[in-house]
């Protein structure tokens, strides 16, 4: 088991290195650089740009830059973000938790909602409720995430004025709130972005969960359970769901990259100060060190996510656990 873990860790590290290197060259070979992108006023004296290019080694040959960067990464130093005028690690430290919060809540919401929906649909298989819910989740599943975000923003924030439209908390009052008020304020700000993200993946999970449940519902042991006199509720919640959760756990690993991609749009529309927005802005400003770090972190998340999913699978499925 330990050897297996080690092997997976090495594979993961290799993949991350591959991805990071590809990103590095992709960025540095592209036209433009962070200095030109940040000092964008035509009135900026050229000497200033030259100065900063030299300071950040952007005037060095690419191979030298790559070598330096590798050494820095090996020491856990992500470099300095010129547009933010801060070390990349500090920029990311202020953004990553926000994204993790958003994704965590969205993940939880989407799995709970998706599994519940799938269960309702499967229990009412072939009836109008199943049909309606199926069409409904397909509708959301087929929606571009940014458009859903825009529409929710339009309806809830512009037309009905129900939820706040930007940020993670009220910038003015937050410092003066008590603990519970703060929690409430944060949750209030979380509703729209988390629901947007959750709706999209919940729709996918519901579709998947329904199929998995129906697969399991046809198994012999379900008939056994019924023949034992177990109630319908017990059959579905105990016997069927427990088995049908296994394939859904693998979705956990697959959902992460989807959520990461979705968070780019959702964070943009709702001005959520997380990694997705940071990355999009960093592309605009050609913030190489920040972008490289963001890509590395994204792939760590994705690889880590699938790792966790596998581990979870092993915990839940006795057949895998004991072999």
């Amino acid at each position: 088991m330990a050897r297996l873990l080690l092997r997976r860790a090495i594979h993961g590290a290799l993949i991350i290195w591959l991805v990071a290197t590809a990103t590095f060259f992709l960025l540095h070979l592209a036209p433009g650089d962070p200095i030109a992108a940040s000092l964008d006023s035509p009135l900026t004296p050229p000497v200033v740009r030259t100065h900063y290019r030299h300071e950040y080694g952007l005037d060095q040959p690419l191979s030298v830059q790559y070598g330096r960067w590798l050494v820095m990464m090996a020491h856990g130093d992500f470099g300095f973000s010129f547009p933010h005028r801060r070390p990349v690690s500090s920029v990311i430290a202020s953004a990553l938790p926000n994204t993790l919060l958003l994704m965590g809540v969205a993940l939880l919401l989407s799995f709970v909602a998706g599994i519940a929906l799938g269960l309702i649909q499967a229990r009412h298989r072939g009836r109008p409720l199943d049909w309606g819910l199926g069409l409904g989740s397909l509708f959301f599943y087929s929606m571009p995430d940014f458009w859903l975000a825009l529409m929710l923003l339009f309806l809830f924030a512009f037309v009905w004025h129900v939820f706040p439209v930007t940020g993670m908390f009220d910038p003015v009052m937050y410092p003066y709130y008590g603990f519970w008020q703060r929690v409430g304020d944060r949750l209030w700000h979380l509703v729209l972005p988390a629901c947007t993200l959750a709706l999209l993946s919940a729709a996918a999970i519901a579709r998947f969960q329904r199929a998995a449940l129906l697969d399991v519902a046809g198994e012999d042991f379900v008939l056994t359970a019924r023949a034992k006199g177990v109630s319908e509720r017990g059959v579905w919640l105990h016997h069927v769901l427990r088995n049908a959760l296994l394939p859904v756990i693998t979705l956990f690993g697959l959902a992460l990259p989807v959520l990461l991609g979705g968070s780019v749009f959702v964070e943009k529309v709702f001005s959520w100060p997380g990694m997705g927005l940071l990355t999009v802005e960093a592309i605009g400003t050609r913030d190489y060190p920040l972008l490289c770090a963001a890509v590395v972190i994204a792939s760590v998340l994705v690889i880590g996510g699938s790792f966790v999913a596998d581990a979870l699978y092993a915990v839940v499925d006795p057949r895998v656990r004991l072999e």
């Binding site: 594979h11 290799l14 993949i15 991350i16 591959l18 991805v19 990103t23 992709l26 960025l27 592209a30 036209p31 433009g32 069409l135 397909l138 509708f139 599943y141 087929s142 929606m143 571009p144 995430d145 940014f146 458009w147 825009l150 529409m151 923003l153 339009f154 512009f158 990259p257 990461l260 991609g261 780019v264 749009f265 990355t279 999009v280 592309i283 605009g284 050609r286 972008l291 963001a294 890509v295 994204a298 792939s299 994705v302 690889i303 699938s306």
Partner: protein, 311 residues
């Protein structure tokens, strides 16, 4: 794409629909015939197919159907930003262009980008998966590791980065990029299928009879891989449509003045509160189209599944 290509596509799909509608009862006959019958009996999938055909026809006939030119700016001061009316069912945008006409032409751009991109990913994915599955062993492992690496990068981030950094990217390159980042799933499906087929009797027999690897791949394995690939393609089109819309929404996909549904949403995104129609209608068009392809994909999966038994 050339309008003739569009018309051809629409005609072919219509013929396919006709064939499906005329197909006899599927209790007997070839697997394809059974699949067609099943598809016809699946009302939702069949409706979706009709929607897709209609969309293809609309896209093909856009120049004749659209009331205005998609790029004409009849009066940039007085006719801009009009709300929906009889003359302009979807309203007009900032340059006094008719949103309805642009949505029709947008169907062309969005659909052709999606279709062509999926052709790229399906061919690359099938080839890659077939080779990996057929060769097996260490090469297969290595090839699958590469897929893992590819899948660990969020696709949308990668595309945004490439497209923004190397802007402006011409449309064919955009299509290529969309295709080349979307084949991992297909190749996994194909590989799994090939792995299981490799040991089947007919392949073993063909090998015993001295057939070459290429012949076996071509004659025995690929035809059997076709149905999962068809399903992947249909669902893939839905996915590519969304990805392209997202990129265009960020301003790095299809560039103006060409109308794609995504960049039409961008046109109105900042003014969603004042000029809701500019973003809403193209968004609905995407939802309907993507839904149709998803429904059709689901239907095809059920129809082509040999395990599925009637009743």
């Amino acid at each position: 794409m050339h309008p003739l290509v569009w018309i051809a596509a629409a005609v072919l799909t219509t013929l396919a629909c006709g064939a499906i509608a005329r197909a006899g009862d599927g209790d007997s006959g070839s697997p394809w015939r059974i699949a067609l019958t099943r598809l016809r009996d699946n009302h939702a999938a069949f409706a979706a197919l009709c929607v897709i055909v209609a969309l293809l026809i609309v896209a093909a006939l856009a120049p004749w159907l659209a009331p205005y030119s998609p790029i004409a700016q009849p009066d940039i001061v007085r006719l801009k930003n009009l709300p929906p009316s009889l003359a302009h069912p979807f309203g007009t945008d900032f340059a006094s262009r008719d949103v309805f006409s642009r949505a029709l032409y947008g169907a062309r751009v969005s659909l052709s980008v999606a279709l062509l991109a999926i052709v790229v990913s399906a061919s690359v994915g099938t080839a890659y998966g077939a080779i990996a599955g057929y060769v097996g062993g260490r090469i297969d492992t290595l090839m699958m590791r590469l897929i893992d690496a590819g899948l660990s990068v969020p696709r949308i981030l990668l595309l945004i980065a490439v497209l923004a950094l190397w802007a402006p990217v011409p449309l064919p390159v955009l299509v290529l990029l969309l295709g080349l980042t979307g084949w991992f799933g297909v190749s996994r499906v194909v590989r799994a299928q090939v792995l299981s087929l490799r040991e089947r009797d007919m392949v073993v027999a063909a090998r015993a009879l001295g057939a070459s690897d290429r012949e076996i791949l071509w004659r025995h394995i690929l035809p059997n891989v076709l149905s999962p690939v068809i399903v992947s393609i249909t669902l893939g089109i839905a996915n590519v449509l969304i990805v392209e819309a997202g990129l265009s929404y960020l301003g790095v996909g299809v560039r103006p003045p060409s109308a794609s549904w995504g960049n039409m949403i961008l046109d109105g995104a900042d003014e969603i509160a004042s000029l809701w129609w500019i973003s809403t209608f193209p968004g609905l068009a995407i939802v309907v189209t993507v839904m149709a392809f998803n429904l059709l994909g689901d239907g095809l999966r059920d129809a082509l599944d040999p395990r599925q038994v009637d009743g």
